[in-house]
Assembly symmetry: C2
Homo-oligomer: 203 residues x 2
């Protein structure tokens, strides 16, 4: 932070440095460092990918802190939110939860177990002709969502308010296009994300 200039990531622009990269920007500095050390390194994606990860990390950490202060965690709120948003009877199967929260069925099983222990959800026995376990929001779980959702979402709306309304719209639209394209390229997994809940460690 104090003397990064000497050590590498923000280097003196080499003779061949692309004009688009600003040595003063932390992310551009990464691309420039690669080019300085290994001319020809394909740095094209860094400007988007690294910033995406970086922003996701900052926002995720912030949500975690906000929820930790309220005695909750992101994984649980994610689960409760999906159920709450699904509307009455606030009941979904494990598989639906996995798809909507973008985590593996195993992770959902663990999340549900934790939330169940806190009395926030209940597991109902599989319906007669099915083996799908239904997970239902309890009254207590419902209360928890109500008490946290506005706080969390308002906080995040505020965090992106540094961008002007048109910029926010432009950014959201570009991300929408990128996301749609990524889905087609990567083999369209479900979707969703609670509108709540930072990305798991990707993995």
């Amino acid at each position: 932070m104090t003397d990064r200039a000497r050590t590498g990531d923000d280097p003196p622009p080499p003779a061949t440095a692309p004009a688009h990269l600003d040595p003063g920007d932390p992310v551009d500095a990464i691309a420039l460092a690669w080019l300085r050390e290994r001319p020809g390194t394909p740095v094209t994606g860094i400007g988007i990918v690294t910033r995406l990860w970086h922003a996701a990390k900052l926002l995720g950490e912030d949500r975690r802190r906000v929820l930790a202060a309220a005695g909750q965690d992101t994984a649980t709120l994610d689960l409760l939110s999906v159920l709450r948003r699904s509307g009455p009877p606030y009941r979904l199967t494990t598989r639906e939860l996995a798809e909507r929260t973008m985590v593996t069925p195993g992770a959902v099983s663990q999340r549900v177990a934790r939330a169940e222990q806190e009395g926030l959800v209940e597991r109902a026995a599989p319906a007669p002709g099915s083996r799908a376990v239904a997970v239902t929001l309890t009254d207590r779980g419902h209360e928890v969502v109500e008490s946290l959702v506005d706080r969390v979402l308002a906080r995040e709306a505020d965090l992106v308010s540094g961008l002007a309304p048109e910029q926010q719209r432009a950014l959201a639209e570009l991300l929408r296009v990128l996301l749609a394209d990524l889905h087609t390229r990567l083999g369209d997994r479900p979707i969703s994300q609670v509108g709540t809940e930072p990305p798991g460690r990707s993995g």
Copy 2:
């Protein structure tokens, strides 16, 4: 995936649904579901925040898969990359590594321990008048970086190529502005990110 329409996230637009939200888009559907269930929910940030997390997750999973196929993991490549990019003598202290990779010192300690066990880095005893442990890239570590960086970065450049060049530039620029603003709002932690390495589970 098949019948999401019935269960909630993509609801029939309520009378008060904002014109900007498209019920057919998975992320907009989340905002619409909140508005349907809880009119007044501050959904403004969802279009950006959720998409950001979602894209970060997809890209992170992809990198993890690419590296797993090559017998490596993202955390280790992140470490090696920062050292490689810093230029000769490819040596940084634990603290510098923590700042540049945006993870806690404890995580760096664990990463270094793992990489050291694989013979990819070495821990040098603290210099005489200091307690800063220097971590250095070994020849083997250097080779590993060289063999993986181009593959990983080229792959990611390709993944964002669905956006036209001007769109990529516009997206990168908006993210740059957002990131700068987030840093000022959240208490400017260091920076960096290897240009390599998906976000830890955010928090």
